[in-house]
């Protein structure tokens, strides 16, 4: 089967709407298809990755721990738009530290997150063949 460049663009905050959760479900299923996958977190999408989410009181399931498992599914190109993060008063320290292990380098642990400018992310987006928007 051909390998295509897939991008998931995540632009919605978690819990207020279902898109973040159901987008993550697509990414997990999609990982089995061995495509060239990138995730982009833009605008309120960056809020999906905040540390310390505690959801008991709102009666919803906390799905944020699942992001830490993405590396195990070989989903390791995770782009965060710098402008979006800064506008929200956040830095990478406020987000989960996502990593993957590189089989080709004796399972060395590497960062999955790539902090990029809007302009850099626009270039990455232009290279995609299929863009799933949430």
């Amino acid at each position: 089967m051909a390998i295509k460049k897939f991008m998931y663009t995540n632009r919605k905050a978690p819990y207020g709407t279902v898109y973040a959760l159901e987008s993550l479900e697509v990414v997990l299923i999609g990982a089995a298809f061995d495509q060239d996958v990138s995730l982009a977190f833009i605008g309120d999408g960056v809020y999906q990755l905040t540390k310390g989410q505690t959801t008991e009181a709102i009666g919803q399931k906390n799905f944020s721990p699942v992001y830490a498992a993405l590396g195990d599914y070989d989903v390791n190109k995770i782009y965060i738009e710098k402008e979006s993060l800064e506008e929200r008063g956040l830095s990478l320290d406020d987000l989960q530290h996502l990593v993957w292990e590189d089989e080709d380098e004796d399972w060395a642990e590497k960062d999955s997150i790539r902090l990029v400018s809007r302009s850099e992310l626009a270039d990455v987006m232009t290279e995609q063949e299929i863009i799933l928007s949430f």
């Binding site: 819990y15 207020g16 709407t17 279902v18 009181a57 709102i58 009666g59 919803q60 399931k61």
Partner: protein
Amino acid sequence: MKFSIQINEGPYQHQASDTAYQFAKAALAAGHEIFRVFFYHDGVNNATRLAVPPQDDRNVAKQWSELALENDLDMVVCIAAAQRRGIMDAAEAKRQGLDADNLMAGFRISGLGQLIEAGIESDRLIVFGA
């Protein structure tokens, strides 16, 4: 005090129904009366009995149904909005010649006048939506 609640969005897609549910529980716990919960727009989709969410997630329709049955809440689903979106009780399904219905116990289907009446009869009406 006498509250009524309007819910404009369906379950899961938006948090509106979850927030309204937590609000309703807290209002009852504080000794307030809930005159009516009115489901409008996609809010009617909270009233299906056919939902089977994952085991580790809440069942929004069931939560409302149980809250209503325990507290004798009047939960009204707007008939016009429900017909557009395929929420049917047995009587209406029969009248429309449909072969199935899907309304959950604890909800009833009625007209928009019930929303206006809720506004008139309640001390406060609060809308949850998107």
